[in-house]
Amino acid sequence: MKHSFLDRYSDRDSLLHKLDPRTKIVTAIAFILAVALTPPPSWQAFALYFVIVAIAILISKIPPLYVLKRSLVIVPFVLLIGIFIPFLKPGDASGSYNVWIWNVSHSGLMVLWGIAIKSWLSILSLILLSATTKFTELLKGLEQLRMPKLMIMILSFMYRYLFVMVDEVSRMKQARDSRNFGGKRTWQLKTIGNMIGTLFIRSYERGERVYGAMVARGFEGQMRTLSSLQFRTADLYFVAAFFFCLSLVGITFLFM
């Protein structure tokens, strides 16, 4: 069966795609850190951050619309966390913002704005990271950056078996629907419950078999891989340019 790729567009060819995954991971994290540490009122700084990401997106040749669409996934989270803050945070009530009987505080609005813009900019940079880096490269990069092996293993198994399980589920659904799935709601729920249970047991048994296959090839609890990552001069230029832009933003808007 065919699936969409987790890391769509990651096989394209651009300057960003060619960079070492470690370079991209470190710069993405530095960018997020800078964004998170910028106080919400300095909107000019955020505008410049956006310009930095936008330029990176243009360089990467990834359709901007795709990035924009994917970045919408954070909307529910931001709303869930931030939407009540303007109503609940005590502060100088600014009369013009009042909604019916609730006071909307100016400082509360500022917090909401801060959460929204910071998470949006962060997710943009992460989408860019995952769209310009193959998942396997990303794992290698994280491994070399000393991320715990156990986490790497969990991520790599997830990447490998996610779609195997999606296949399994879609086959179960087909089998269910070809036997005229329907009837009372409680009956439906019971069927779905059974399917989830079956899926769990099958995954558990698959886990045993996979472990058997690993042991058969000498696995003793330590995942060892060969790494073939190499920094190039392009990495150096990219990092230099990036941190230059970042410090420019910092100096201009935070300390002046």
């Binding site: 396997t136 990447y159 490998r160 996979v210 042991v215 090839r217 000498g218 891989t225």
Partner: protein, 244 residues
Amino acid sequence: MEYAIEIANLSYSYPDGQQALRDINLAIETGESVALIGANGAGKSTLLLHLNGIMRSDGAIKILGLPLNDKNLKQARSKVGLVFQNPDDQLFSPTVFDDVAFGPINMGVHPNEVRQRVSQALHDVNMAGYEQRSPQHLSVGEKKRIAIATILSMSPQILVLDEPTANLDPRAKWELIELIRGLPMTKIVASHDLELVTALCERTIILDSGSIVADDSTSSIMSNTPLLERYGLAPTSRLAIAFD
């Protein structure tokens, strides 16, 4: 004569008490190709899992003269290469390269030689150039070949295959049979695909309810229709008449 595998008085019961293997005695010479046939649940896979110590029970197993015990386990595993039935179980790494390199790396082979072994193994199964592909985007036939490559890269002296042709279409199946025929090591193939067995093995063992019930040359077993019928490996005589 030197033996690749010697098994003496091997019995095994599942944790729930069901007996899977009963008093297996078996000797396989080096260089032989042996088929292990039998109906579903006859104990074929259980027997194969004993050959490199993934399953352990009483009874003595010797691999190339070396008794299989805790001390020799690692050594035995690098001699017996086990290819699992479902390639999705065998291929667990994010890329083909990582999977084929997994065995040699665990054996402590030098990185340069690992790379060399990986490209050699992929070349041997006609999958050169697939190093950076992700197993989930390959066809079943391709996955099967890669699964065999993951074992070949460990250069085993004994190749054990569990249902190698399961889920393959005829073209992929015959290509795979040709591939396996060309491999020089001792081979043990568990299957109920009699075409595969006839094409690949000169000796055939029938397993039924965990016991060895026949052990003879493939040609004489394949021509003994009543025997095959008795153990559920050929159509019953009523159906066979309907075919004629």
